[in-house]
Subunit: 402 residues, 2 copies
Amino acid sequence: MTGRADREVAVQAEGVKRVRADLACFGGEPAFADDIRVGTPNVPAKERYLELVSQAIDRRWLSNLGPLVQEFEGRAAERTLRRHNTATSNATAALQVAAKACGLTGEVIMPSFTFVATAHAMSWIGLTPVFCDVDPATGTLDPLSVAKAVTPRTGGILGVHIWGNLCDSAALDEVARDAGVPLVYDSAQAFGCRPLAPGPMGSAEVFSFHATKILNTFEGGLVATDSDEVHARVRSMHNFGFDEAMRVIGPGTNAKMSESSAAMGIASIERLDATLATYRSLHLRYREGLAQVPGVTLFEAPAGQTHNHQYIVVRVDPGAAGLDRDRLFDVLGAENIRTKKYFAPGCHRMPPYRSDAVHTPLDLPVTEELTERVLSLPIGLSVSPQDVDRICDVIAAAVRHA
Amino acid sequence: MTGRADREVAVQAEGVKRVRADLACFGGEPAFADDIRVGTPNVPAKERYLELVSQAIDRRWLSNLGPLVQEFEGRAAERTLRRHNTATSNATAALQVAAKACGLTGEVIMPSFTFVATAHAMSWIGLTPVFCDVDPATGTLDPLSVAKAVTPRTGGILGVHIWGNLCDSAALDEVARDAGVPLVYDSAQAFGCRPLAPGPMGSAEVFSFHATKILNTFEGGLVATDSDEVHARVRSMHNFGFDEAMRVIGPGTNAKMSESSAAMGIASIERLDATLATYRSLHLRYREGLAQVPGVTLFEAPAGQTHNHQYIVVRVDPGAAGLDRDRLFDVLGAENIRTKKYFAPGCHRMPPYRSDAVHTPLDLPVTEELTERVLSLPIGLSVSPQDVDRICDVIAAAVRHA
């Protein structure tokens, strides 16, 4: 017990895991008494939310395109920089609406390296995901891989701005134009990320305001588009196929955002600049803390865009780090640092896609490599700069000792 | 102006529209200064809701099957009397999940006389609605009409407990068994409605907690089933195809209910008995107020079930009433009484179904008649007994004079 007490003193004094036995996986005290997580919800303005939702209740207007949803759509437009913005129940429903509103059909080319909802949203409505490879530096859809996958059965392309890294939209736009198919973006992770120079951005894009996103509405999403025609179809389809006179004019679903969700969205978007600044500073803190750790490389924001730094993603190279991603995941877990393997495995290795003849065999070397190497670290308004220092200390110790 | 002042005195004194000119459509003062509506949201426990949602925010657990959703599912089970209950983002998403979880395929036989979401939920996921006729007394699916519509392409039957009137479940169960297809119920309007004697109730049923329902969660729904197998698929499918270990095991979508919605559900279900009692007493008040009005007949609850009286629906027979449903709708509208033509037109007369070769020509005489004759009158916690008296007075005056 003396050894253990000594170690505690050392950890407290220097805030680091100095020797192998300091690591919790070797019997040391965990670096965090309580779990520290990826995606703990941000609620920057609880009282403001309660005030807004209380007003909604008093006016007895709880859903159905109410005043809070309208206001939130207006505020969101300032961030998406799109002409038309439709708030939705969640981003998966929004992807379904966007796919139908933009006319995606048959086979839809998309990355395998994404959250499974991207593929599931398509297959839910009868479309067939066809998986392509991604760029190793950004994790976004590789336009050459897309171009090679185009066939007469291709009915659309779905790019994903993974981790807030914007796709090479100009190149994808050219591939889509050559193929004569619509291009849609899954921007679920990219709220607050915009190109510095205007350019083609596809027929529509879909944002997520799920609880774990940088801006959350409990559950929620948004379809954004510059096209009047696409917008008209989105408005109708997300509300049972109604037109503005409440006549059914075509197919539809219920993908409406509630007033409670919009209240949270408004309260949070009013503080978004401060939230983004916090994330940026935590990102820089991680960069500093991990700079000297061999084999653990922070993904940096691509040039030419604003970024939300919503995810802190490192690439673990076992040769240089002396341990692989899965081992680091376990070592950090023992310290109560709950990281995520975002995104592993690739969608093409999950049911139902892995058993689908369309998808096998697939040659996605970058996806295979990334899914084995990436790890997403805790960030959010509940993560302090000191927490980041401690996490970086633990990672450094893991690389030294584990 | 003297005549108008006289009328006002008369209306105030007796609370009725005594002469033709008292009706707003003929220049009288509207019976209501502000609109009185069908489906104004019930919020029986605002403070309790705010307390619960505030707790959810403090624990930073805003979605993803949180403690409030779990509690709400447990409370809802006491009302659905089903073994398994899964709360959802809304009822349309729930219908999609239930259809896939129960294995509906190809053509699905359903009533045309329903809210369009019933049909739209099926077509959204690639199923084909085939419309049948309904019983004139209850508005629910006619089992004989269903049996006649069964073909080798039939892959499921979808009954709708319209206005809270339960379908003839025993007969539908037999038709489904003979056809060898799954039977699912759309119970969107039937929360609180259960058969007095237990019997077959299909593979699953779907409830709605939309803002306008007797119990609301802003937006929300529920899939209820007694089948362990169906339940397992519903749980997975409504959460991205994950199993309990968060591995993707099959197709899915996001149909999760948020903690804010569950908070409203819990706060409201705690008061549900009182809410149901209020609706029952308003229903009786309408019955009394309309008893002597020729040609305007209140639909009554079928025997053998509990009922939520969520909708006050009258049938307007022009021969006896001297005016038709559309004229009564207009006359009441002028009085600021906002009624609804629930449900008109039938789904088979709306796009995209009316243009689909599968659906034409259709012979649905009861549906055609009901869609021309039914009218839904204001009810809800914001409607007082005196409001009901005044509405009945106006209807009586309309029949006398309009």
